[in-house]
């Protein structure tokens, strides 16, 4: 199941526990709507950077579980709790490669007609 989600979105946060519990492989696609959630791009970059150290979904779980603490120091705390190499985390989340990866996912969502989040797609089409 492909999930286009915005890490700054309350609807996504509310639905995430149920989505993550579904008996299907979840493919998370970044869909930050920055105009609506200005911190979203940073949160998605943080998740992607955590993923580069093998802890993508743990970071996603963390960000959805606590949406009130999302400034940089809070992201560092989250990274530390996941035992991430902080220097590498920082370099990765600010890198053009991570930005491009997030943007690529977003554009795939646009092409697929995503307009609200979360947006779920199974092999049968839009859920």
């Amino acid at each position: 199941m492909i999930v286009y989600a915005d890490l700054g979105c309350a609807h996504c946060a509310a639905a995430w526990t149920e989505i993550a519990a579904r008996p299907a492989q979840i493919v998370f696609r970044h869909f930050p709507v920055a105009s609506k959630h200005p911190r979203s791009p940073a949160l998605h970059a943080a998740a992607e950077a955590a993923g580069l150290q093998g802890h993508f979904f743990e970071m996603v779980d963390s960000l959805y579980a606590d949406r009130g603490h999302v400034d940089d120091p809070h992201l560092w705390q989250r990274a530390e709790r996941l035992d991430l190499d902080l220097e590498r985390f920082e370099a990765n989340r600010r890198s053009p490669e991570v930005e491009a990866r997030v943007r690529r996912d977003f554009e795939s969502g646009i092409r697929a007609g995503v307009t609200t989040t979360p947006a779920l797609f199974s092999s049968e089409g839009r859920v």
Binding site: V33, S35, K36, R111, A112, V114, T115
Partner: protein, 152 residues
């Protein structure tokens, strides 16, 4: 609803800053008119927020995007600020819905525009129209890009 090939009715409305904006101001450019029901309603908020994310790409293709609803300029200003968008929003306020009616986009029963997209070409002719089956259904931005690149 107006159809492709018809001349796009000219209009003059005030934007969120109280400035007069006419469709004819954009002769020589393509214009995407985004008719939507109401500022601050949940569906409208999502639509314009998503379009904001791809606005640079739309503009790169030589298209100006303009939102139109029956809300006042004051509501438009607050709506822009709330959403963090800079898409110009025009007030089809008085006479209420006159421009939406001219495009066949006004819903008399509910007193607001439907949810539709009208692409006007450089000469002022309607090039493409999409009307959502219901006001609750947001036209994906992919439809806009498909309309701008029909041979792709």
């Amino acid at each position: 609803m107006i159809q492709a090939g018809e001349p796009a009715p000219d209009f003059t409305l005030r934007n969120q800053d109280g400035e007069k904006v006419s469709l004819s101001d954009f002769r020589g450019e393509k214009v995407l008119l985004v008719f939507y029901p109401l500022d601050f309603s949940p569906v409208c908020s999502d639509q314009l927020s998503v379009y904001q994310e791809v606005k640079p790409e739309i503009e790169t293709k030589g298209v100006r995007m303009i939102g139109i609803s029956v809300d006042s300029g004051f509501a438009h200003k607050a709506f822009q600020e709330k959403l963090g968008i800079d898409t110009p929003l025009l007030a089809d306020f008085e006479p209420k819905g006159e421009v939406a009616r001219a495009y066949g986009a006004y819903i008399e029963k509910t007193g607001h525009a439907n949810r539709s997209l009208v692409l006007v070409d450089e000469e002022g002719t309607v090039e493409w129209v999409h009307e959502s089956p219901t006001p609750l259904e947001i036209p994906g931005a992919n439809l806009i890009f498909d309309a701008l690149s029909p041979d792709a």
